[in-house]
């Protein structure tokens, strides 16, 4: 390193009250380079960024050691001087684009504020500077958009406004704290690319905080891995990825999806097929979904006049065989969760039919519903939210058995104890409340509760998405083990390709309520046929820095933006399908 570092952190320790959360941290960042600070929740990475900004909670948080920015010590700086540093020399991009902007202030005014504070611009010059920054981050129609409020912006656009705010005063250092974690994967790819471009232009140093090794592989020059407040390993991005020294680092790297990003062109041109293709493993399907459509009414006025329909799921058909796992992937709003909810009667079905073990589910008939509910169970995303905080976990696992009259209290108790052991929990803890368990343990409880009914199918709706990498692996392994033991089928709904790749036999890709591609996991991920699938897959971060630049950037969706809200008289064109290989079907563009 020949240039002197922009920021130099030495022996930084941070404590809250008496607990020390960061121990003895050291790093430098050179101009124009990016240091990735990697770690899971609670590793102390975000606290470190707040310490640099001087934004630790007053009176509780204390930082010791040295943080030197451009040779100036920040820890001893007075508050007024620190205000000049914040936003001027160091700026920050936060994780949550939806809440990080002031909801009652115009976007342009919020951007103008930082420029006014640090550059002292006024009037027309200020307005021009604001417009200039909005153009730089590629906000369309900046003259119009600057007068609008944040709620009219999408998540990706808000994050670009945050980037504009961070870059507006040419800071020496930008701290990006999980800036793309809350974004959809295609938006994440665009945002990262934008950030890189602007950084190259301005030679700003970046401290990039993330838990996602894929993002690290995309953007970092140097890496520092943290765990429980301490440095585990550091080095250049190539060193760390090619020869990780620590087992923990290795596990983080290995958690990345392996097939993704290496797809080849389709081998043979797909052949058109007649009708709607449905396939499954084994002799008879456990679940059949035929032509399922779910629409939510858009009503207005007191008398609820129907003005349109949200087409959440459009003519979806698929099947799952015994002991098989089908993945349902797509971005937020694609309708993948709605399918799961519709099957289990949490969303209204407009048309189409659902068959469980060959029997048609009649959603108007309580008996048929009760039968379906015995056979189909659901696991939700948030293990904190899907358990009643006031119910002991033993009671939570037994309740469905008792409600459905499947067992007497004594039998139910025995089964509960057995299930807890089976999912790796100590049965003695049956009288504990959910808050006494960790996130992974709670997801185990939810799995035990689902298994209590001896279901044929479990719908897992983003069941591992909220978990840290290591825990995620354990839960997936548990699910695979249980599948072998109980011969249960899974409908695995997720946006997390690494998880899908590990657990799913087949995958269906959803886009705006429609299934656009379905087939064996290795076929769909390895030889994607539909444009959207390709766009989705190429947006997923690479797994090794060596792959940088070898993949085309995800093309921006050039077709007109689609709205899921359709007028009442809208009729979807009939889908046509073609087959790429055995069981791999691709929907033709219509």
């Amino acid at each position: 390193m020949n240039k002197s570092p922009v920021i130099s952190v030495r022996n930084l320790s941070i404590s809250f009250g008496r607990t020390t959360v960061v121990h003895d941290l050291n790093f430098d960042i050179a101009p124009g380079s990016t240091l990735a600070l990697v770690g899971e929740s609670g590793s102390g990475k975000s606290v470190t960024s707040l310490a640099i900004m001087g934004l630790l909670p007053e009176r509780i948080g204390r930082a010791k050691g040295s943080i030197a920015l451009e040779g100036r010590e920040l820890l001893t700086l007075s508050e007024p001087s620190m205000q000049k540093v914040r936003g001027g020399r160091v700026s920050m991009i936060f994780q949550e684009p939806m809440t990080s902007l002031n909801p009652v202030q115009r976007v342009g005014d919020q951007l103008a504020e930082v420029i006014r504070i640090h550059k002292g611009l006024r009037g027309a010059a200020l307005k021009e500077a604001v417009l200039d920054m909005l153009r730089k981050v590629r906000i369309p129609d900046p003259e119009v958009r600057m007068h609008q409020y944040p709620h009219t912006f999408s998540g990706g656009m808000r994050q670009r406004v945050m980037i504009a705010m961070a870059l507006a005063c040419n800071p020496a250092l930008i701290i990006a704290d999980e800036p793309t974690t809350a974004l959809d994967v295609t938006v994440q790819a665009q945002t990262l690319a934008l950030l890189k471009d602007l950084q190259r232009e301005t030679q700003t140093a970046v401290l990039f905080i993330t838990h996602d090794m894929g993002v690290v592989a995309e953007v970092a020059d140097n890496v520092l891995v943290m765990r429980r407040g301490r440095e585990i390993e550091s080095g250049t991005v190539h060193e760390v990825f090619s020869a990780p020294k620590d087992a923990y680092t290795r596990s983080l790297i290995e958690a990345a999806p392996s097939l993704v990003g290496k797809f080849a062109e389709t081998r043979t041109p797909p052949q058109p097929v007649q009708g709607v293709p449905v396939s499954y493993a084994g002799d008879a399907p456990v679940l059949e979904v035929n032509d399922l459509t779910v629409r939510f009414p858009v009503r207005s006025g007191f008398f609820g006049r129907l003005t349109g329909m949200v087409h959440a799921v459009e003519h979806a058909s698929f099947a799952i065989g015994k002991g098989e796992t089908l993945g349902l992937v797509g971005e937020s709003g694609s309708g993948k969760s709605t399918i799961g909810k519709a099957i289990i009667n949490l969303a209204p079905i407009d048309s189409g039919e659902v068959r469980v073990s060959g029997q048609r589910v009649d959603y108007g008939d309580p008996q048929s519903l009760a039968r379906m509910r015995r056979d189909v169970q659901m696991i939700f995303q948030d293990p904190f939210g899907s358990l009643d905080t006031r119910q002991t976990i033993g009671s939570a696992i037994m309740e469905p058995m008792l409600v459905h009259g499947l067992a007497k209290r004594a039998e139910a108790f025995e089964k509960m104890q057995w299930l807890m052991e089976r999912v790796g929990l100590d049965p003695a803890r049956a009288t504990s409340l959910p808050h006494e368990f960790s996130g992974g343990q709670r997801q185990r409880i939810c799995i035990a509760r689902a298994l209590a009914m001896s279901p044929k199918l479990i719908i897992a709706d983003e069941a591992v998405s909220a978990l840290d990498v290591a825990i995620k692996g354990q839960i997936i392994d548990l699910m695979i083990d249980l599948q072998k033991e109980f011969d249960v089928s899974y409908l695995f709904i997720s946006h997390d390709m690494a998880a899908v790749e590990r657990i799913c036999d087949r995958v269906a890709v959803m886009y705006f309520g429609e299934i656009v591609e379905i087939g064996k996991t290795e076929d769909v991920i390895g030889h994607p046929g539909h444009d959207y699938t390709r766009r989705l897959l190429s947006a997923i971060p690479i797994t090794h820095p060596d792959q940088r630049g070898k993949r085309p950037l995800p093309s921006v969706d050039l077709t007109k933006p689609r709205s899921p809200i359709k007028p009442l008289e809208y009729r979807a064109p009939p889908p046509s399908w073609s087959m790429a290989s055995e069981g791999h079907f691709i929907r033709s563009a219509s």
Binding site: R373, S386, T389
Partner: protein, 293 residues
């Protein structure tokens, strides 16, 4: 530390956590509890604690100053203020507590049903509640008592009527928040019946907030009752009510201001005690208001 983990929510009930919960209550809450308990005991043992009969009049002792015979003095009819204060506590407490109990039960049930069922029932129920809530509760109580007659039952009904919408609102808001939580979805996915979900799972979750509301509204109820009595719409004299005593004292304010001040302080003390309890409970159940990190 980072925002990626979901903050665990605080459990409220179960025996083990009840003790933990009581430990979270601050000193001022306990002061409130102590005051209310003391006043309840004073009301129960009024005959034993009183130094005179509450209705005993004596021309000789009119407007007597506090002293050994009349600890807190005597009013314009020569009645002992200490005695009347003790008996007055009975009415303030009875009216305040039973009115809020009625409002709590009726309001919570209305709010829970409106929130869970939703749709047009919700709109109509809550629109009616909003009108009642927006109406000045004192004016409403005053009109109701005036029209129905100032009996104990009518005063309780009138005050309960003014307080019901507040409970309906908070119960509805609680149910709507809980209704969209994943655990309720999980319950529905497992095929539990509506009433089971509503009363077994959702109700315990919203009860703490309802209790806070009850405590704060008991303060309001006591204040409303006193205000009605002050206006002259309380229980008919010679029944000793605190508001009525202030009214009597106010008529003699130039000659003996302690007649108005002593019952005023009693009202203040009881209302303050309920407010202290309500605030303390709210701080204890609302993790946002506590020092986090």
């Amino acid at each position: 530390m980072t925002d990626t983990t979901v903050a665990p929510s605080t459990p409220i009930d179960r025996k083990s956590s009840i003790r933990a919960f009581l430990g979270q209550l601050n000193a001022s809450t306990w002061i409130g509890v102590f005051i209310v308990l003391a006043l309840v005991l004073a009301a129960i043992f009024a005959p034993q604690l009183a130094t005179h009969s509450p209705a005993r009049q004596s021309i000789m002792d009119q407007l007597a100053l506090p002293g050994s015979q009349f600890w807190l003095g005597a009013d314009q009819f020569g009645r002992d203020i200490w005695t009347r204060l003790l008996y007055g506590a009975r009415y303030s407490l009875t009216i305040g507590m039973s009115a809020i109990l009625v409002a709590l039960v009726v309001g919570t049930v209305i709010g829970m049903i409106a929130g869970y069922v939703g749709g047009r029932i919700d709109i109509i129920f809550m629109q009616v509640m909003d009108v009642v809530l927006a109406f000045p509760s004192l004016i409403l109580g005053l009109a109701l008592v005036a029209l129905m007659g100032a009996t104990l039952t009518n005063i309780i009904i009138a005050i309960a009527f003014t307080a019901t919408p507040a409970f309906a609102r908070i119960a509805r808001a609680g149910v709507i928040t809980q209704r969209d939580r994943e655990y309720v979805q999980a319950c529905r996915a497992m095929g539990f019946s509506g009433p089971r979900i509503l009363f077994r799972h959702i109700m315990p979750a919203i009860l703490p907030e309802v209790m806070v509301m009850a405590s704060l509204w008991m303060a309001t109820a006591v204040r409303t009752e006193a205000s009605l009595a002050f206006i002259g719409l309380g229980l008919a004299p010679p029944t000793p009510t605190w508001g009525g005593m202030v009214r009597d004292g106010f008529d003699n304010i130039l000659s003996a201001f302690h007649l108005a001040i002593i019952p005023s302080l009693a009202i203040l003390l009881l209302v303050l005690a309920f407010n202290l309890i309500g605030d303390g409970l709210r701080d204890a159940i609302d993790p946002r208001l506590k020092d986090a990190s």
